[in-house]
């Protein structure tokens, strides 16, 4: 990693500027609010992809259960919004007014105790970060302390995602079941379904995303980030250099979980509901492909990957629904076989040298500058 300048190299600051301009100016100015809302939805997946870059790209830990954390974050937010939507007045036709409608349909007659704290917005915001983190900590502590890794970790996270999905669907009186938690209307009295709200939510989302990107970069640039790479390549050497490797893995797993959960919460706000179909195996693996397409080592790549794959999905499924799965399948295979470093790899190998020939001043040398110690 080049360590020139604060957080990023000069080139990467330029990339950040391009990204910020795209997300905050170009897209809002050029598409209508409907499409912008869609882009906002894609960007929520980019949070998960960012987490995966840290976890998988840098740390070498592949989780096939990131949907768990995306879902948990989304559910925490959805629970708050649902309670706000379930005022006694709005639900007076129910046999028990004041509780969410799906509880009433399932003969639940009082709000379960673990729903109670979600009346508080502060608690909800904390829960969005803490619930997934604690869950990740439990899984991570159990697995990493026992040195479960690689393929085993991937399969076990997948199994956990499956369990959680069955559980959410089975406990529909408390979770809304397979329908999820739907019909969310307002956030602290502010109608989130209006166009203006969608615009504001989009900007909050994009801003948070850039904030998380900076945070992730700060982690990568710290000694922690270099240790992650060291652990990925030579775990034993790190261990015998006096580091408790499992703690580092647990932390990065929790961090990736928390980042995914922010995405989930923003998803709920922008889409207006949360359902178990975002918790399971299929979405979890799709999120891995976003990171893979963008380039598993590149934070910028993760965002572009999430945007492009989803935009392609929408376009393809509108015009050639039959072809979509072929395209998606082909994408998986192509990225793994031909472009293991994804879009970011392509940019680095082809675009940058090309640009560097024409704009040497802007980028310095075409290749990344050789790493050097800060003086």
């Amino acid at each position: 990693m080049p360590t020139v300048g604060f957080l990023f190299s000069k080139k990467e600051w330029l990339y950040l500027a391009i990204l910020a301009a795209l997300l905050l100016i170009v897209l809002p100015a050029s598409v209508d609010i409907f499409r912008l809302n869609l882009i906002g939805k894609y960007l929520t997946y980019a949070f998960v992809a960012l987490g995966l870059v840290l976890l998988w790209g840098n740390g070498g830990i592949l989780s096939l259960g990131q949907g768990i954390f995306f879902g948990l974050g989304g559910y925490c937010m959805a629970m708050f919004l649902k309670l706000e939507a379930s005022t006694p007045e709005a639900t007076k036709i129910q046999s028990t007014p004041g509780i969410p409608d799906f509880m009433d349909w399932n003969q639940v007659t009082a709000l379960p105790f673990w729903w109670q704290p979600f009346h508080s917005f502060t608690f909800t915001l904390l829960a969005i970060i803490l619930v997934p983190s604690v869950f990740a900590f439990i899984i991570g502590a159990a697995m990493f302390k026992r040195r479960v890794g690689g393929v085993y970790f991937a399969i076990i996270t997948q199994a956990v995602a499956a369990i959680l999905t069955i559980l959410i669907i089975g406990q529909q009186g408390y979770t809304g079941g397979v329908n999820g938690i739907t019909d969310l209307r307002t956030l602290l009295g502010w109608d989130i379904r209006t166009d203006s709200a969608k615009l504001i939510l989009y900007f909050i989302n994009a801003g948070l995303l850039i904030g998380v990107l900076l945070l992730a970069q700060a982690v990568r640039m710290s000694k922690f980030g270099r240790l992650l790479i060291a652990m990925r390549d030579r775990e034993d050497r790190v261990r015998f250099s006096g580091y408790d490797v499992s703690n580092f893995k647990i932390f990065i797993f929790c961090l990736a979980a928390a980042i995914s959960a922010i995405g989930g919460a923003m998803f709920t706000l922008q889409v207006g509901f949360m359902s178990p179909s975002f918790v399971g195996i299929v979405p979890s693996i799709e999120m891995v492909i976003f990171a893979a397409v963008g380039g598993r080592l590149s934070l910028f790549g993760a965002i572009y990957g999430a945007l492009l794959v989803n935009a392609a999905k929408t376009t393809f499924s509108e015009s050639f629904p039959e072809l979509w799965l072929f395209a998606m399948g082909g994408l998986f295979i192509a990225v793994v076989m031909a472009f293991p470093f994804g879009l970011a790899g392509v940019v680095k190998d082809y675009v940058e040298p090309f640009v560097a020939r024409r704009l040497p001043v802007l980028l310095g040398r075409g290749r990344a500058p050789q790493p050097q110690a800060a003086q």
């Binding site: 592949l62 026992r146 479960v148 690689g150 199994a159 299929v282 998986f332 990225v335």
Partner: protein, 308 residues
């Protein structure tokens, strides 16, 4: 539970419940054997394993249609032909996939996982385009349906017996191939020391390809057998994949005996729990227990304590 029933009723239920567990066990073994060979012996994660099974199921379906239309008198025995063809088709596709994809990825197990997931998506769409989105029903010869009555209350489903018998034959065949044949010796040699095996004249590439093909072929037979108890649709393969992986991992990768033992444990646990709890909770509890035990004993049940 016993309260309302006579002891004889209770015991016949116990017997049938044990048998239900055995059928589930056979299903798990059939699903997992192919995967265990591929994953355990080659370290390759084949997420498209379910789709190889479904290929076998579709081949069986085609056979049933063709036989009914052209040679109806063969119908009672078509199933055996169908299984052979299912094996051949899945084996062939497996060899092709190994050649096109897997052989480039032996050093990157996590990447095989992603590539084969992509493959599974493409195969699903292929099935949908060819056979339609609806599930297809495979008509079975009459002798395979129905049950044998043992006493007044105990009824043993014939297709269950058939699946169990098939499982035993295939398990025995796999055991023979892997541990008694010279080919199996070569496979194990490659697993233990690829370079050395190559140096003593074993064609390691061919061994890889055949091993992968064999694993997929067994999946094909499994798919063929499953038409007797389950459904055949483009996405049906997805239903099995997590369970199958858990069976293999729980047994301890690389140990075929472990795979069988783990299939037995999980199936008995699940079918017993299903009897006392609702199906969903039984499933959750079984999976949770397996994951919990794996956290305590990550190498699986039957893995040896070897030096790292």
């Amino acid at each position: 539970m016993i309260g309302d029933y006579s002891y004889s009723e209770f015991f016949s239920i116990l017997a049938m419940q044990g048998f239900a567990g055995l059928i589930l066990f056979s299903v798990f073994v059939l699903m997992a054997l192919g995967l265990a060979i591929i994953f355990g012996q080659m370290g390759v994660i084949n997420m498209a394993h379910g789709e190889f099974m479904i290929l076998g199921a579709y081949v069986t379906y085609l056979c049933s249609v063709v036989v009914t239309d052209y040679v109806p008198f063969l119908f009672p025995v078509y199933f055996f032909v169908a299984m052979a063809l299912a094996f051949a088709a899945s084996f062939g596709l497996g060899v092709l996939v190994e050649w096109a994809l897997i052989r480039h990825l032996y050093r990157r197990p996590l990447d095989t996982l992603l590539a084969t997931w992509g493959l599974s998506l493409a195969l699903q769409q292929l099935y949908r385009s060819v056979f339609g989105a609806r599930e297809v029903g495979v008509t079975l010869p009459d002798w395979m349906m129905g049950s044998i009555s043992l006493g007044d209350a105990i009824e043993i489903p014939i297709n269950g017996l058939f699946v169990m018998g098939l499982t035993m034959i295939i398990a025995a065949a796999v055991y023979f191939i892997m541990f008694r044949s010279s080919w199996g010796k070569r496979v194990r040699a490659v697993v233990q020391n690829r370079v050395m095996a190559g140096a003593v004249g074993i064609n390691t590439k061919q061994v890889d390809r055949m091993t992968f093909g064999l694993g997929c072929g067994i999946a094909g037979i499994a798919g063929s057998a499953f038409t007797m108890i389950g459904s055949t649709g483009p996405t049906a393969g997805q239903l099995y994949i997590v369970d199958t992986f858990l069976v293999v991992v729980f047994g301890g990768a690389g140990s075929l005996i472990g795979t069988i033992a783990s299939a037995f444990t999980i199936s008995q646990a699940q079918s017993t729990l299903e009897f006392f709890l609702s199906g969903s909770m039984a499933k959750v509890l079984t999976l949770l227990t397996v994951v919990g035990i794996l956290m305590l004993r990550p190498q699986g049940l039957f893995s040896l304590n070897i030096r790292r």
